[in-house]
């Protein structure tokens, strides 16, 4: 008899929905159905049973083809690469558990690695802004229960965080928000008319690259100071009107995404958005939140935070001190300058997201990629080590975009003999110890 596993956590995006119901075959091996998930989340679970999944490590041959090798061989090769390299980029971590990260960091400390996560090409600019000016924020339940003014700025949850709007931000009825979306005023600020904008009461089309100016104009308007006739393509009357609406809201929230972090101004855009939020707290209650992408990129920042004190791009190559400097210890810059001697990728696909030059540099170095699936990065790696899917075939802790930790669940068994990230990293760690005890690779 197939059975249902309830309260399952979706390992796709930073929304970290925890109400999925997964139907599993009697032998605990196959996922038969997914309920409550969005299309992307459902696909993540359905992937588990797709034919053609790589089940054993593969090593690239001289002719470019891949040959199956054993886990032991792959572990030995990886450990030797790590011990030999004086500076290894250890990038990814956003789709694995915090427990696995912890083991990875231990390895990095021993071999002199640089641990970086996807924030480096995503919300890294938000983190820089927060390092500069702080951030007034809240948990997603606060928005559900209190927010009557919701602003989506440069983000498109309708596509990137599909259940965000129904679970937390637009539609849910909460304790002080019994009317659901009818009691909320929704604003979308974007240079395009997105599907999220379609759900908004008010769409404010900002001229591309003028987010900073428009945010600045809102700060000015809130203080009642003078504005030019238009700012970023928005007439000043509109800006004054909306600023007044923000001030009279009971609880406002700004959600922002790549439209702010990766357009002209980058961290400065976030900086001023945070400052607007801060200003608003002189009049009413206001919060701001980054729409984090990968389901556990937030977790990587947290674990790095409590172990080393920085949220991403942590250089442990000095072995006695952790360093973090954007532009210096960040992955893309390291690769562009060809500053690392080997690459160790886990639970993320830089091949799909990094600039081409960085990946060309990466492809010339010894590379190991640990990922359940074939992706752009596995195809330029010397070794691809497949692992169980975290959140599907093994559990582990993850942090939601509001930093709330949730323990993901194992719903099915991984393919026979397949290691989890934790098991694999533990074995690599052990092999590194053996090699270092012997004095090197």
């Amino acid at each position: 008899m197939p059975k249902e596993v309830t309260d399952v956590i979706c390992p796709f995006c930073g929304t970290l929905c925890d109400d999925l119901i997964i139907t599993v075959s009697d032998d605990n091996k196959t996922i038969l159905g997914v309920k409550n998930a969005c299309a992307i989340g459902a696909e993540k679970f359905n992937h588990q049973r797709l034919p053609g999944r790589v089940k054993r490590p593969r090593m690239r041959q001289a002719d470019g083809t891949y040959k199956e090798i054993t886990y032991d061989e792959a572990i030995d090769w990886t450990a030797k690469m790590l011990v030999k390299s004086r500076k290894t980029l250890m990038y990814g971590w956003a789709s694995t558990s915090c427990q696995a990260m912890s083991i990875g960091h231990e390895i990095a400390e021993k071999v002199g690695g640089i641990v970086d996560n996807c924030a480096t090409v995503c919300h890294g600019s938000s983190l820089i802004a927060i390092e500069d000016v702080g951030v007034p924020s809240c948990t997603l339940g606060e928005i559900k229960n209190r927010a009557d003014c919701v602003i989506f700025w440069g983000c498109n949850p309708a596509h990137a965080h599909p259940r965000h709007m129904s679970r937390y931000s637009i539609f849910p009825r909460g304790f002080f928000t019994v009317k659901g979306h009818k009691g909320r005023k929704i604003y979308a600020v974007d240079c395009r008319y997105t599907d999220t904008a379609k759900c908004a009461d008010e769409f404010i089309q900002v001229q591309q690259g003028f987010d900073y100016e428009l945010l600045n104009a809102f700060r000015t308007a809130v203080r009642g100071d003078a504005l030019p006739d238009t700012v970023g393509g928005v007439p000043k009357e509109k800006i004054y009107e909306i600023a007044e609406a923000f001030k009279t809201a009971r609880f406002g929230i700004i959600f922002f995404g790549m439209g702010l972090t990766h357009t002209m101004g980058r961290n400065h855009n976030i900086d001023i958005a945070i400052n607007l939020t801060r200003d608003m707290n002189e009049y009413t209650k206001f919060a701001i939140m980054a729409m984090r992408g990968h389901w556990n990129v937030t977790g990587s920042g947290q674990v790095l935070g409590w172990q080393y004190g920085f949220p991403y791009a942590v250089d442990l190559s000095r072995r006695d001190q952790a360093r973090h400097q954007t532009g210096e210890t960040t992955s893309v810059d390291l690769l562009n300058r060809s500053e690392v001697e080997a690459c160790f990728y886990i639970a993320t696909d830089p091949g799909a997201h990094f600039p081409v030059d960085a990946m060309i540099s990466s492809s010339r170095k010894p590379t190991v990629t640990i990922d359940p699936h074939i992706n752009c990065t596995t195809e330029i790696s010397d070794i691809h080590i497949p692992v169980a899917m975290v959140g599907v075939e093994t559990g582990g802790c993850a942090y939601r975009m509001d930093n709330v930790p949730i323990e993901t669940r194992k719903v099915v068994e991984p393919p026979e003999g397949m290691l989890t990230d934790e098991e694999l990293l533990t074995k690599i760690n052990k092999r590194v110890d053996e090699l270092m005890a012997k004095g090197g690779a």
Partner: protein
């Protein structure tokens, strides 16, 4: 397990009334014993001071706001991030050290237990992840209840049993230790940008006052018979004139008797009292109210307090008192971090520089010392820095030097840029008392152990107690006279034993020991009403499912569960 005998040391132990006499301490199987065999390893403690491992009663060392403080302050790593000798991981940070550094530094100072002072239940998993990664020291965490919707609704209806049943449920879900209350009502008001500054202000919507919340939570604590008492960060923290509100809150404990099986006598622990003992009406006419507050504490036996000593450093303030951090940010304009937590609490963070050239900060420094020096019963007054709020815990040795030497303290006081103003606004210059080593052992060992309900195993050197022992390079007969010497002696133990194992030797970490996570399992009669309310609130108002709320066992691999039974109370 190895046996040890610590010979010829000057022993200070309040649980046995030993005041510096030379006495051998024997260790076997992780406990202190009467005697050991002839093969026991001998530790020569001649001309050294031997005390039990110290206990931290209130510090912010693990969890979401501590970690936000770490990662949003990269500059804090620049102050002190050097690896010290020993088998340690990379250490980083000064006011908010990384978890590794936190464990090592407490051990180097002679501590073996630390209480994380504020755990938001929704973030309990995070707190335990950090506790799990903090080496050597035993830890526990206090979930916050003072602004919790369930608690406010039950107390408003005068339902103490339901309040207690809900608290018992939360302690089990979060692996929590007791009842923490931060700015009762004020933090819920902060969710609308408001605050409660006196204990009679109404909490918006919930129609309850801080006074009612405090009284209700004390009663629930005694109904359950928890090892620790109700632990409060009071309303109106850090404002001139707040000493009246402080005494008003303390008075709420009058007439309530402690009910428990752990030897605890207090029903209220009022934390970082320094921040709550100010007179005056503004920062211009600000004065110390330490005497007034401590006069009350001294005569009211069912209270304990900790000091919250300002150490005059650049540090990072962090508290579940959300409105206070917003207010503080308005004063110093440094970066402000805030998180409001659904149905439960909030937290704020602001970096802070206690500049000794500023008369107010120097006066706060004096108020903190006055609190400890006015305390008549060292078993009820504990030394803290409310780490990292008034300063980092790594400054304890310096705080001890100010408390133990009038000369050292006066040197500091008289060399403030605005010394005259500080002396006029405080009473410190007129206090001659010097805390003795024996009193220090009460204020940092026996006292906090008793207050936390841990006096069976911690805080003393009686046979049968945990072999948690700190040996300092201090000869009580030739007590160091300079501040620097006192500091140095307390900053690096000669030896630290944790559960009978040497973890620090000569200031060097040599072993990670066996770390325990403490939590309290309170059994209550089956309560259908509370279980119904929990189910309903999770279905309707929380953003996580009830089934994903509890902290799994794996987060506390070495858990020490203290059970209390309140099932017979119904």
């Amino acid at each position: 397990m190895s046996e040890y005998i610590i010979k010829n040391g000057h022993v200070f132990d309040a649980t046995q009334g030993i005041k510096g006499d030379k006495k051998d301490i024997c260790v076997k199987d992780g406990k202190i014993v009467d005697k050991v065999g002839s093969s026991a390893k001998v530790i020569d403690a001649k001309d050294k001071t031997v005390m039990a491992g110290a206990l931290e009663v209130h510090a912010h060392v693990a969890g979401p706001k501590v970690n936000a403080g770490r990662w949003y302050r990269p500059e804090d790593k620049h102050f002190d991030s050097h690896k010290k000798p020993g088998i340690t991981r990379i250490e980083g940070g000064k006011s908010i050290p990384t978890v590794f550094k936190t464990g090592y530094e407490y051990a180097r100072l002679g501590f073996t237990f630390a209480m994380e002072a504020a755990m938001p239940p929704l973030y309990a998993r995070h707190v335990h992840e950090e506790i799990h990664d903090t080496p050597i020291i035993d830890e526990a965490a206090l979930p916050v209840f003072g602004n919790n919707w369930f608690v406010m609704e039950y107390i408003k209806n005068n339902e103490i049993e339901n309040t207690a049943a809900y608290i018992a449920w939360i302690l089990r879900q979060t692996k929590g230790y007791g009842i923490k209350c931060v700015n009762p009502g004020g933090t819920e008001a902060w969710a609308w940008g408001l605050n409660c500054l006196t204990i009679h202000d109404q909490v918006p919507y919930f129609e309850i006052t801080p006074a009612e919340i405090i009284t209700g939570l004390i009663k629930a604590n005694e109904y359950l018979g928890l090892p620790h008492s109700f632990h409060i960060h009071q309303n109106d923290l850090g404002n001139p004139g707040n000493y009246k509100t402080t005494i008003d809150s303390l008075k709420l404990a009058e007439g309530i008797k402690a009910t428990n099986n752990f030897g605890r006598e207090q029903v209220m622990h009022s934390t970082h009292l320094q921040f709550h003992a100010y007179k005056g009406t503004n920062w211009g006419d600000f004065e110390s109210g330490a005497k007034e507050v401590m006069d009350y504490v001294n005569k009211q036996k069912n209270l304990t307090i900790d000091t919250g000593n300002v150490t005059l450093d650049e540090t990072t303030t962090m508290t579940a008192d959300g409105p206070f951090e917003h207010h503080l940010h308005g004063l110093n304009h440094l970066k402000w971090f805030n998180v409001d937590v659904e149905l439960e609490t909030a937290a704020g963070i602001v970096p802070f520089i206690y500049d000794p050239n500023n008369a107010v900060f120097a006066s706060q420094w004096a108020v903190g010392l006055e609190i400890a020096l006015y305390a008549k019963d060292p078993m009820r007054c504990f030394i803290t820095t409310d780490h990292p709020n008034a300063g980092p815990f790594t400054r304890y040795p310096r705080v001890y030097s100010w408390l133990m030497s009038k000369k050292v303290r006066d040197e500091r006081l008289n060399t403030f840029k605005k010394a005259d103003k500080v002396i006029a606004a405080t009473n410190l210059a007129n206090i001659d008392r010097e805390i003795t080593l024996y009193e220090l052992s009460q204020m940092t060992r026996a006292g906090p152990a008793k207050c936390l309900g841990l006096s069976k195993d911690y805080g003393g050197l009686k046979p049968g107690m945990n072999a948690d022992i700190a040996i300092y390079n201090i000869n009580p007969d030739k007590f160091p006279s300079s501040g620097a010497e006192i500091e140095k002696a307390f900053a690096n133990v000669a030896y630290l034993f944790k559960d009978g194992k040497i973890c620090v030797e000569g200031g060097k970490v040599v072993d990670m020991g066996k770390k325990n996570t403490f939590w309290v399992d309170a059994k209550v009669p089956e309560n259908k009403q509370v279980m119904h309310d929990i189910r309903e609130k999770f279905l309707r108002y929380y953003s996580v499912n009830e089934a994903n709320y509890p902290v799994p066992e794996s987060y506390a691999p070495h858990q020490h569960i203290i059970s209390v039974d309140a099932t017979t109370k119904a």
